[in-house]
C-alpha cells in the first residue's frame, strides 16, 4: 500500500488536523470528528448537516461554509459516523430553526442518522431528513437496500445550503431536498480498485484489461465487469442508464463529471467532452456543470456522472454565493 499517511488508524484524525490548519474559517471538533463553520450562521436559520464515512473528500468536510453545510460529521474511512457524533454536530449548529440531515442511502448511514435524529428530538431539536438515493446502477427494489446515494449529494448540499441561507423554513427545505433527490441520477465506473488504509491492499483485483461498471463510492465492485473501453464507450455506459431512468430531455440540467480520486483532470475533461456530447444529442440542455474530484473513493481511478434536472429556482440557488474549500464562487 502506497499512501501519504502515518499509521492507518490515524488517517482520519490526522487528515482532519490538516484540514483545520489549512482552513481557519472552519472549526474542527477532534473529539467528535465534526467540522463546522468558525462563524456560525445567524440565529433563526435552518442548519444543514451531512456526514458519512471518510474517503470521499472533499465530501463532506470540504463543503462546510457559507451557502452550503453548517456541519459535516466524518466517520472512519467508508464507515458511517456514530449517532452520538451526528447528534453532537446537530446540537452544535442548531440555530433554533431546526436542522436538515442529508443522508446517503446506505444501511449504516440511515440507521446511525436515524438514531441521531431520535437523540436530537429528545433534546428538543427539530430534525428533517433527506435520504439521497441517486445511483442508477442499483435497482430500488425489494431485492436491494435501495439505490445508493452518490454524486447527487454534492449538488443537493449546494442547493439546499443556498436555500437555508435564504432563511427558508425546515419544512420547505425538506421538500426542496426531496424534490432535488427525485430529479437527479448518477452512474459510476472504476478503472482500478481503491485501497482502504486499514485493509492495506486493494479491495478487489481488477486485471489490466478490465473495468467495473456501476460502482458506488466505497470501493465496492460494480454491477458488472467489462473489457476496458475507449472514453466514448464509457460515456455511453454512464449516460444511457441515467437517461433511461430520468427524462431529462428538453430542459436545463446541472451536470457533474466527477473523478473518483485517482483519475487526473486531463482525463476528466476528456470524459466530460464525451458525456456532454451525448447528453446534448439526447436533448439535455446543460445549464451548469462541475468537472473534477467532488465525491471520491480514496485513490480509485474512474469517474461518475450526475445529471440533475433543473429549473429557474434550482439555477438561482446554484448561482448563489458559496464559500467552502471544495466549492466556491460569488464571494
Amino acid at each position: 500500500m502506497k499512501k501519504l499517511i502515518n499509521a492507518p488508524e490515524d488517517v482520519l484524525i490526522e487528515s482532519l488536523r490538516g484540514l483545520s490548519l489549512a482552513h481557519p474559517e472552519l472549526s474542527v471538533d477532534f473529539e467528535n470528528h465534526v467540522i463546522t463553520r468558525a462563524t456560525p450562521k445567524e440565529q433563526g436559520k435552518v442548519a444543514v448537516v451531512s456526514g458519512g464515512g471518510s474517503g470521499h473528500e472533499p465530501l463532506h468536510g470540504g463543503y462546510v461554509g457559507h451557502g452550503m453545510l453548517d456541519a459535516a460529521v466524518a466517520g472512519e474511512v467508508f464507515t458511517s459516523p456514530t449517532p452520538d457524533r451526528v447528534q453532537a454536530a446537530t446540537h452544535a449548529v442548531d440555530r433554533g430553526a431546526g436542522v436538515l440531515h442529508i443522508v446517503k442511502n446506505y444501511t449504516g448511514d440511515v440507521m446511525n442518522f436515524e438514531m441521531a435524529a431520535e437523540l436530537a428530538a429528545a433534546e428538543g431539536i427539530e430534525v428533517g431528513t433527506v435520504i439521497v438515493d441517486d445511483d442508477v446502477a442499483v435497482q430500488d427494489s425489494l431485492y436491494t437496500a435501495g439505490r445508493r446515494g452518490v454524486g447527487l449529494t454534492v449538488l443537493l448540499e449546494k442547493l439546499v445550503g443556498a436555500a437555508a441561507e435564504e432563511g427558508r423554513d425546515l419544512a420547505s427545505i425538506v421538500e426542496l431536498a426531496t424534490r432535488i433527490n427525485g430529479q437527479g441520477r448518477s452512474m459510476g465506473m472504476a478503472l482500478t480498485s481503491c485501497t482502504v488504509p486499514a485493509a492495506g491492499k486493494p479491495t478487489f483485483d481488477l486485471p489490466e484489461d478490465q473495468m467495473e461498471i456501476g460502482i458506488g463510492i466505497h470501493g465496492e465492485p460494480g454491477r458488472h465487469r467489462e473489457p476496458i473501453a475507449p472514453a466514448k464507450e464509457i460515456a455511453r455506459m454512464l449516460v444511457e442508464p441515467i437517461l433511461g431512468d430520468l427524462d431529462a430531455a428538453g430542459g436545463p440540467a446541472i451536470v457533474m463529471l466527477n473523478g473518483m480520486g485517482g483519475s487526473p483532470l486531463i482525463e476528466l475533461y476528456l470524459m466530460y467532452g464525451e458525456v456532454a456530447a451525448l447528453l446534448e444529442k439526447a436533448g439535455v440542455q446543460i445549464a451548469r456543470n462541475l468537472v473534477g474530484d467532488y465525491i471520491t473513493s480514496l485513490d480509485m481511478a474512474g469517474c461518475s456522472l450526475t445529471v440533475l434536472k433543473a429549473d429557474d429556482e434550482l439555477l438561482r440557488l446554484w448561482d448563489a454565493p458559496v464559500r467552502t474549500p471544495g466549492l466556491r464562487w460569488g464571494m
Binding site: T79, G108, A145, V196
Partner: protein, 212 residues
C-alpha cells in the same frame, strides 16, 4: 457446570469476542472486500476493543448494566451498519436481562431472543437476505431448542455456536438483499456474509465463555 451465568462470564464472553474479532480481523475484512467495503474487520475490532476497555474500567454488578454498556459503546464507536446492529443487540439483551446478578438458561434465552428482535427492528432483515441475521436467528433458535430438550446452559450455547456457524456457511450461495452486498446482485453469491461470520464468532465466544 453451573446452570447460571454471572457478570464474570458475560465479561469473559465480551473479552473472548474481542479476541476473536481481533484475531480474525483480516479475514472479516477480506470477506467484506469481496462483497462490501472492506471495513468489517476494522469496525468490529475497533468496537469490541472499546467495549472491553469500557467494561474493564467500570464495575458493572448486574447483567443489564454490563450488556447495556457494551451496547452503548458499540453504538458510539463502530458506526456503519454493524455498529447500530450489534449495539442494539447488546442493548436489548441488557434491557431484557434486567438488574440481575446472574442469568439462568431461560433468562439468557430470552435476552438473546430480544437482542435478535432488536436487530430485526433496526435492520428489517429476513431469513435468506444474506446478513448476520442468517447466523444469529438459527443460533438463538438452537439455543432455545437445546434448553427445551433439557440441555444445560453449556450445551445450549454449544449448539447455538454450531448453528451460527452452519448459518454463516449457508450464506455463501445466497444473493444478498440487504446491506451493501445487495448492490452486487448476483455477484454477491459465492461469498460468505461478513456479518454472519462475526456473528458466528460471537456465539462461539459465548459457548467458550460458558464452558469456562
Amino acid at each position: 457446570m453451573p446452570d447460571t451465568i454471572d457478570t464474570a462470564v458475560l465479561t469473559d464472553w465480551v473479552h473472548r469476542f474481542r479476541d476473536a474479532v481481533t484475531d480474525k480481523r483480516e479475514w472479516l475484512t477480506e470477506l467484506d472486500s469481496a462483497i462490501g467495503d472492506a471495513d468489517h474487520g476494522a469496525n468490529m475490532a475497533r468496537g469490541m476493543t472499546a467495549a472491553v476497555a469500557k467494561i474493564d474500567a467500570g464495575s458493572a454488578s448486574t447483567c443489564d448494566e454490563l450488556l447495556k454498556s457494551v451496547g452503548m459503546t458499540l453504538v458510539s464507536s463502530v458506526g456503519g451498519a454493524s455498529g447500530p446492529l450489534y449495539g442494539t443487540f447488546f442493548l436489548r439483551m441488557g434491557m431484557t436481562a434486567g438488574a440481575a446478578a446472574e442469568l439462568d438458561g431461560a433468562g439468557l434465552a430470552s435476552a438473546l431472543r430480544a437482542g435478535l428482535d432488536g436487530i430485526v427492528a433496526r435492520g428489517k432483515a429476513e431469513a435468506g437476505d444474506k446478513t448476520l441475521f442468517d447466523a444469529m436467528a438459527p443460533a438463538v433458535d438452537a439455543f432455545d431448542a437445546a434448553l427445551g430438550d433439557g440441555g444445560d446452559l453449556a450445551e445450549a450455547a454449544l449448539s447455538a455456536a454450531d448453528a451460527a456457524e452452519s448459518g454463516r456457511d449457508a450464506t455463501a450461495p445466497l444473493v444478498a438483499r440487504k446491506g451493501r452486498a445487495s448492490y452486487l446482485g448476483e455477484r454477491s453469491a459465492g461469498h460468505l456474509d461478513p456479518g454472519a461470520a462475526s456473528t458466528a464468532l460471537l456465539f462461539r465466544a459465548l459457548a467458550d465463555a460458558i464452558a469456562g
